[in-house]
């Protein structure tokens, strides 16, 4: 489904601030895989997701989604294949526009937009049903400006928008990290449900080791721009936080020192 091969990304090349954010990263996701991606601050997780989404081009390497070469496509063209949710709840929605208007923008992802009316009444019924399934009471507030919603409500809506067109690949970048623990839990539950119902191929970045272990069928760990661990299947099911820390130290030769990750255990 997703094939990333030998991606290199260098920021500020040939300056004193040169930073190799991705070193020859290669991996594959099979159809229906739900992989969690964990790693310390600055290990390159967001950069990897941004390269896949085409926010900026990779310096070398190639990216295929469902057999199609994405490497040279720009961000808005790749969007037809992707669903994305960001860490910042502000990022995924247009705050000056209503809930239904945001959903309508998402529903037309990958289609040519013309002079047809931006929202149809038939769609509205569909949105009401989807919003009702979220269980946040948003179905009664279709016209409400998204800027008035709480962070958790916005992330739930963004998740709905990301999956409304059944993307080939869902990219989640710490989408629950900015929320309070209770809301974060709710959003993670919702994420699990949607991914399972739609059988979505997913790559989810998280800082929370427990979440990384609990969710998905596969766990990858990044360190200094490389994927250093890739644990699948039964091995992943049996994994504990202690195992993970130990294996990290074995490979990297240092202690896992990321305050956010350790605190959130």
């Amino acid at each position: 489904m997703l094939r990333v091969s030998r991606i290199i990304k260098i920021f500020n090349a040939r300056t004193i601030n040169e930073k190799v954010a991705l070193h020859n990263v290669s991996f594959k996701l099979e159809k229906g895989d739900f992989a969690t991606l964990i790693g310390g601050n600055g290990s390159g997780k967001s950069t990897l997701l941004n390269c896949i989404a085409g926010v900026y081009p990779a310096d070398r390497g190639s990216i295929f989604i469902d057999g199609k070469d994405m490497t040279k496509l720009c961000e808005y063209r790749r969007a037809a294949f992707l669903g994305r949710v960001f860490q910042d709840p502000m990022m995924g929605t247009a705050s000056d526009m209503g809930i239904e208007e945001n959903l309508a923008l998402a529903l037309r992802r990958g289609k040519i937009r013309g002079l047809r009316w931006g929202i149809t009444n038939k769609e509205r019924e569909h949105y009401k049903k989807l919003l009702k399934d979220l269980g946040l009471g948003l179905e009664a507030r279709l016209g409400t400006k998204v800027g008035l919603l709480s962070g958790g409500q916005r992330q739930a809506l963004t998740l709905l928008m990301a999956t409304i067109k059944r993307p080939k690949l869902l990219l989640l970048d710490e989408h629950a990290a900015a929320l309070d623990p209770r809301t974060a839990k709710k959003v993670m539950k919702l994420t699990d449900r949607i991914i399972e119902e739609e059988n979505l191929t997913t790559l989810m970045v998280t800082h929370n080791m427990r979440d990384a272990i609990k969710h998905g069928n596969r766990l990858m760990m990044m360190y200094e721009g490389r994927i250093i661990l890739d644990i699948k299947g039964r091995e992943k099911q049996k994994l504990t936080v202690e195992d993970l820390l130990e294996r990290f130290e074995d490979i990297s030769g240092e202690e896992f020192a990321d305050d956010r990750t350790l605190l959130s255990q």
Binding site: A53, C74, E75, Y76, R77, A79, A80, L82, R84, M90, M91, G92, T93, A94, S95, D96, M97, E101, N102, A104, L105, A106, R108, R109, G110, K111, R113, G114, L115, R116, W117, G118, I119, M161
Partner: protein
């Protein structure tokens, strides 16, 4: 009455400014040039014997072209939007001079868009008002429809959150360019109608138009609220008219005409900085409350 007729024509320019400033969140200075482009194209085509309504259509496309240039500078060449607008504005000064061939063209004793109404015995001012209402009415209808369509929604979303818009598969370069083209097309229509009502086109007539447009947008929002899109569009028209009434009043109160631009600039500066003052006042108000 004069204020109303002038206000109606300026309302068209105000809607253009609104599209860039509020919908796209870009302060587009191209306006200063495209007002004149509209006037220049109308003046030159009318004096060459074209139908005045056709002349307005030509003006529209001239403005659209100006917007396209600014849009390309900004999106393809990555020049900051403010600077892109300034570059086009400066370039347009020369281009407008070339279009007109001289610094101003008189339209006295020539049929204009208003002649049809004047021929029925109406005064020239009433003719301007009637034509202004027709144009503004159509404009509000068309814009209300357009910004409700798929493309229109995409343009609105671009001003709100371009990152999200790209993630939804929309080319934000296209939506920005489109918005700038429509905006400057409208501004040029305004320029064409104003030139015909004052019966001359002048290379200087665009100076300060961005500030006048902003002032009208803000007056409209402050006085008439901003509930839904239709009422916002209407508030632009009312804002443009109220601005003209205010100007007429301060002139009558004895302000020298030369100080008008200074007056407008200060008014807009104050209006734009209101949120800052409010944020200073808010803690003050709260502490006063607490001490009660």
């Amino acid at each position: 009455m004069a204020a109303v007729s002038l206000g109606l024509l300026w309302a068209i320019i105000t809607t253009g400014v609104y599209i860039t400033y509020r919908i796209l969140s870009i302060a587009d200075l191209t306006v200063e040039g495209s007002v004149v482009t509209g006037a220049a194209i109308a003046a030159i085509t009318i004096t060459r014997g074209f139908n005045p309504y056709l002349a307005v259509a030509f003006s529209f496309f001239g403005g659209v072209g100006a917007g396209l240039i600014t849009g390309l500078l900004h999106t393809k060449l990555k020049i900051p939007s403010l600077l892109s607008g300034i570059l086009t504005m400066i370039a347009l000064y020369s281009i407008n001079l070339r279009i007109m061939g001289k610094a101003n063209i008189s339209l006295l004793r020539i049929d204009t868009v208003y002649t049809v109404f004047e021929n029925t015995g109406l005064s020239s001012m009433l003719s301007v008002i009637i034509l202004g209402i027709i144009f503004v009415g159509c404009l509000i209808g068309i814009l209300y429809w357009f910004f409700g369509t798929e493309i229109g929604s995409a343009i609105r979303a671009t001003g709100s959150n371009p990152q999200m818009v790209r993630a939804q598969g929309i080319n934000t370069n296209t939506t920005i360019i489109l918005g700038l083209m429509i905006s400057n097309g409208l501004v040029a229509i305004g320029g064409a109608l104003i030139a015909q009502s004052q019966r001359f086109s002048d290379i200087q007539m665009g100076i300060g138009s961005i500030v006048i447009g902003l002032a009208s947008v803000i007056i409209g929002e402050v006085l008439f609220g901003r509930r839904n899109f239709a009422s916002r569009l209407l508030s632009l028209v009312l804002g443009a008219i109220v601005y003209r009434i205010i100007i007429a009043l301060v002139l009558r109160l004895g302000m020298p005409a030369n100080d008008l631009k200074l007056f407008t600039a200060i008014t807009v500066a104050i209006a734009l900085s209101l949120p800052v003052f409010r944020s200073y006042l808010e803690p003050l108000r709260k502490s006063v409350k607490r001490n009660k």
